[in-house]
């Protein structure tokens, strides 16, 4: 399937580059619908990889790249069932999203996240599976999960540990503060910071450059330099599920869902 147009995301293959556009308002929150369509992408990758050398993922919404997991859906679904069933549902959701993230992470395609605006939580984790992050100078990155009594659950901590120094990981995780693109570039998270509105164009130019290289060599280089921390990723799911049963989590989710705070995105 070279082209797909879904409700949350779409992709098309053109000139050896798979372009994946996220377009679920308000800010590409990842709920069950987005997960289903991400699974379609993961399933289509082996076929796409026959004709492509690169993949770009970006948001076509002005609000940002992705605000993370759909906390409203998570809260409402967990309210409809008892605690054991809710926990089982969360674990199943995490197993599925990890499968998608791991598939993208391990893809032989060279992957680029072209991000702008809000790149928080699960959105940040989606960017982290990519080989390169190209950021609009107005992009912001954060892991605000601790204020909900949780840790990032889509593979964020193991992948941050892979890419950055531990002190920076602790700063992002334990304070929940957001980094702007310049700071993210300074710490090595972002490969290029570009002018407003230019991330996708620069990502396309970068993808075109990558197409000049021998594919087998590029794949070997990626596999050599980018190990996937499977064991830590499994551990992350376990810790997330352990924490999810805490009363503080339900209270945190309810507070978020019912909030009339003008700044709900701020940690």
């Amino acid at each position: 399937m070279n082209d797909f147009h879904g409700q949350s995301l779409s992709w098309e293959l053109k000139d050896g580059v798979v372009e994946v556009a996220l377009h679920r308002a308000p800010c590409n929150e990842i709920g069950s619908l987005t997960l289903e369509e991400l699974e379609k992408l993961a399933a289509a990758l082996p076929s796409l990889e026959q004709s492509a050398h690169a993949l770009i993922i970006y948001s076509s919404l002005a609000s940002g790249f992705c605000a993370g997991a759909d906390l409203r859906e998570l809260y409402h679904r967990s309210q409809e069932m008892d605690r054991a069933a809710a926990l089982k549902g969360v674990r199943n959701y995490l197993e599925r999203i990890h499968h998608v993230m791991n598939t993208l992470d391990a893809s032989p395609l060279t992957t680029i996240a072209a991000v702008h605006g809000v790149t928080f939580g699960g959105g940040f984790e989606l960017a982290l599976v990519c080989d390169l992050i190209i950021a609009d100078k107005m992009a912001r990155f954060a892991f605000p999960e601790l204020r909900l009594g949780l840790i990032p659950g889509f593979g964020g901590i193991p992948r941050l540990k892979r890419d950055l120094g531990n002190a920076v990981v602790r700063d992002l995780l334990l304070t929940g503060r957001s980094f702007n693109a310049t700071k993210a570039h300074q710490v090595g998270l972002v490969s290029q910071v570009v002018a407003e509105g230019e991330a996708l164009r620069i990502a396309r130019a970068t993808a075109a450059q990558l197409g000049k290289f021998d594919r087998r060599t590029a794949i070997a280089a990626k596999q050599f330099i980018k190990p996937i921390p499977y064991e830590e990723l499994r551990r992350e799911i376990d810790i997330f599920c352990e924490l999810f049963t805490q009363p503080a989590v339900e209270a945190g989710l309810r507070k978020f869902v019912e909030s009339t705070d003008a700044q709900p995105y701020l940690p």
Binding site: G117, R177, S178, N180, A262
Partner: protein
């Protein structure tokens, strides 16, 4: 030496320009959410523009509960 008044002036000018509000309509004690008509996402946008303009890092938690330009200026001033 960047004084608090100078910082405040620059914030008001930046906000007026970016959010297309006449500069003379902005005063230091205005609630910037109301005066600029911005939501939380646009507040993050403003935060990024201020960090870039003043070459500072302003952790989000320092803005918890901050809604007026004067207090915002004092938070930035503390990092100049």
């Amino acid at each position: 030496m960047h004084t608090l008044d100078h910082t405040l002036d620059e914030i008001l000018a930046l906000a007026a320009t970016h959010f297309k509000v006449p500069r003379e309509k902005l005063t230091p004690d205005d609630d910037f959410f109301k005066t600029l008509g911005i939501d939380s996402l646009q507040a993050l946008d403003l935060l990024t523009r201020l960090e870039t303009h003043f070459h500072v890092e302003l952790p989000d938690y320092e803005l918890q509960g901050v809604t007026d330009f004067r207090t915002l200026a004092s938070r930035i001033q503390a990092r100049l």
